[in-house]
Each structure stands twice: as structure tokens, then as C-alpha cells.
Amino acid sequence: PICPNGSGNCQLTLEELFDRAVKLAHYIHYLSSEIFNEFDERYAQGRGFIAKAVNSCHTASLTTPEDKEQAQQIHHEDLLNLILGVLRSWNDPLIHLASEVQRMKEAPETILWKAVEIEEQNKRLLEGMEKIVGRVHSGEVENDIHTPWEGLPSLQLADEDSRLFAFYNLLHCLRRDSHKIDNYLKVLKCRLIHDNNC
């Protein structure tokens, strides 16, 4: 870290902030994939959930880049705000995911642990992204991009198939959105820090 001589305050460089954000986003997506795969193997085999899980993520209304060109053309401040918006949109569902998974019949320890770990690390990444946006953003950090989640009742449905589908869909969306965040941060890091020469 740069510790300016004599001044009472050292500061992390933008590169260091991005390095940590990329590593953390990579880790969160790794966990999200693992928890999805474990849940899919244990609870979703043969239930045809994939066909139903189409276009039902609570963050679908956030228009995010869907290919390389879109990811490269979007202004970095807009992409940073989108990342913040997706992260904020997951705060609430992740809190409930962690508590609802604990209520599931013999939910394996590994799924339980991951749900709690993802919730904690997501909050941590949000803290870091707000710091990065604060550094990069000329103006005030935009706080409005955020999509509400009304999925809690479906996680508590009595009918097992519907309840399991609600979990499946939430984990499917978590895997997708965490992968987007991981990918966008890698693109932004290469663009802003390495001049597109990673």
C-alpha cells in the first residue's frame, strides 16, 4: 500500500481494490456454483426445473450486458453501478436463503455453510464496490439501482415440489448473477487498470 511519507493516511490503490474485488467475486461465484450443483444433485433430479426456471430471476429487469461487445461498449461508471445494483438486489434474498436452508429437511452441512458464507462475502463485496465506485465516480454514488425480491413466501410453501423449485430458481439466479458480476469485474479491471491488456 502507498503510505505517503509523513502524512497520517495510507491509501489502497485502485488496482489493489480491483484485485480484491475480482478475487472475492470469483470466490462468491465459485461458492454459488457449488451450492447450486449440490442442491441440483440432491433435490432437483428428474423434476424438470430447468425448463421452468426460464426468465424468472428477480434481477431480470436490470439490463445487463449479454455479450463481449455490450460489456466493452458500456461506460465503466454505468457498469459499476449495475454491479452495485445486482449486489444490493441480493442482500435481502441471501439473508433469507441462509435462514430458510437451515429449516430444510436434513440439509447437508456443506449447503448450510455455503449459504451463510455467500451472504457474508456478498456484503463484503458490496462494501468494496461502494469504495471503488466512490473512487472512480466523479459524482455521488448512485443508490437507486436495485430490484426488490418478493420470493420469501415461495421458499416457505407447504407443497414440497413448489418449495424446492423456489430454492432451485433462487440458486440458479444466484449462480447466474454472481457469474455476471465476476465477469464484469474482470472486464473492468482489464479496462481500467491494464488498458485492455490483461
Partner: protein, 210 residues
């Protein structure tokens, strides 16, 4: 008789920008059969036809950049039609994010070096496959190498993460080794083929003087 049900064999993307699907044509009992690939994308009612039946050869459909989206589920079917009727394959759900299979790494070099304490070690370096744009950060590749003694049976496989260089420390002096490397997108996708076999001989005089 109308044709039997065709079957979509697989879909692959070599560089996370375009993708191709291949199908197994329906048995046509001698009548000339025509195949049509149809797809719809998550969140849209519209059904599209394959944009390009040519580029990737027979019984294939090539989706160029304009027709390729990520984090979106494609519902793909193939319909076989002859003069007696038609038959549709089962739907094939694809999110291109999960079907990326890159080409093998290139420019592999093997170099023998001596550490400060005269221990021999092997430095391997390589480059990502040319098609893969890792510079922009859109695609991030991970690598795995394997090596074995020329006359040996068992490969030793080592995952090296995103590095494009690796130092091998524990080598038999006087032996010949075979080395190969392959790669995969981080998180999702499939391992590439192994790179062509490369040979390296560890000189005997590398024996450490006790």
C-alpha cells in the same frame, strides 16, 4: 414413412463469442429429408430459425456474435421433414456460458534451469489459444499440465490456475519426460484437447553434488 426423430448431439463455443450446434440427422428410410433448426431465447416468445447452416459444415448450425447471448437459456429443437411428414427433436436447453471449450494452448516452451543451490528445475511457458480473447478479461482461462516419464504409465496432472508459466521441481536426472497442457474457462466450460506431446530430457550431470 415420416422421418424418425432427429437428435441434437452437442453445442460448443470455442471462444465465448459464437457457438455451433450439431445434430444427428433422422433416419429417412430413403426419402429425401430436410432439417430445420429452430430456437427461442429466454424471456422471448419469438421463435427464430438457424442463422447459418453452412459455416460449420453438414448437420450443424452456426451462431455468430450477433446471434450469441450469454446468461440466457436457448431452447433449441431440430425438425426433420420429408414428403410423408415431419418429426421434431426433444428440446435442447443451452446457456452458452456453460459450453465454452477452447482450443489447446500454443507456443509451449520447455527450458531447463538450475536453481541457486544447483537443483535442476524445468520452466514451462505457454500462450492462450489465439481465438481466445483473454486480454479484455471477457474470457479467463485456467490451465492444467500433465507429464510422465517416457517409459512410464501414469500421468501426473497439476492444476496451475491462470498462470502461463510453471516451474517443475522434482525431476529424475537422466530421464525423458512427455509434457502436455490443456485449458478451460474459469468456473464453467470444458477442457480443451491436450496440446501436442512435447519431450524433454533431464541431463544426468544435473545430479546434485552431495
Amino acid at each position: 414413412l415420416p422421418p424418425e426423430k432427429p437428435r441434437i448431439i452437442k453445442c460448443r463455443s470455442p471462444e465465448k463469442e459464437t457457438f455451433t450446434c450439431w445434430w444427428k440427422p433422422a433416419l429417412d428410410g430413403g426419402l429425401s429429408t430436410n432439417h430445420t433448426l429452430l430456437y427461442s431465447k429466454e424471456g422471448e416468445e419469438k421463435v427464430y430459425e438457424c442463422p447459418d447452416y453452412k459455416t460449420a459444415g453438414p448437420n450443424s448450425c452456426y451462431f455468430d456474435k450477433k446471434h450469441t447471448s450469454f446468461w440466457t437459456i436457448y431452447n433449441i429443437t431440430v425438425r426433420a421433414t420429408n414428403e410423408m411428414g415431419s418429426n421434431v427433436s426433444d428440446p435442447h436447453y443451452v446457456d452458452v456460458t456453460y459450453i465454452v471449450q477452447p482450443d489447446p494452448p500454443v507456443n509451449i516452451t520447455l527450458e531447463l534451469k538450475k536453481s541457486i543451490k544447483r537443483k535442476p528445475y524445468l520452466v514451462l511457458t505457454w500462450s492462450p489459444p489465439p481465438l481466445a480473447d483473454v486480454r479484455s478479461g471477457w474470457l479467463t482461462l485456467e490451465y492444467e499440465l500433465r507429464l510422465k516419464l517416457e517409459e512410464g504409465e501414469e500421468w501426473e496432472t497439476i492444476f496451475v490456475g491462470q498462470q502461463t508459466q510453471y516451474k517443475m521441481f522434482s525431476l529424475h536426472p537422466g530421464k525423458r519426460y512427455i509434457v502436455q497442457i490443456h485449458c478451460k474457462p474459469d468456473h464453467h466450460g470444458l477442457w480443451s484437447e491436450w496440446s501436442p506431446e512435447m519431450y524433454i530430457e533431464i541431463p544426468t550431470d544435473f545430479r546434485v553434488k552431495d
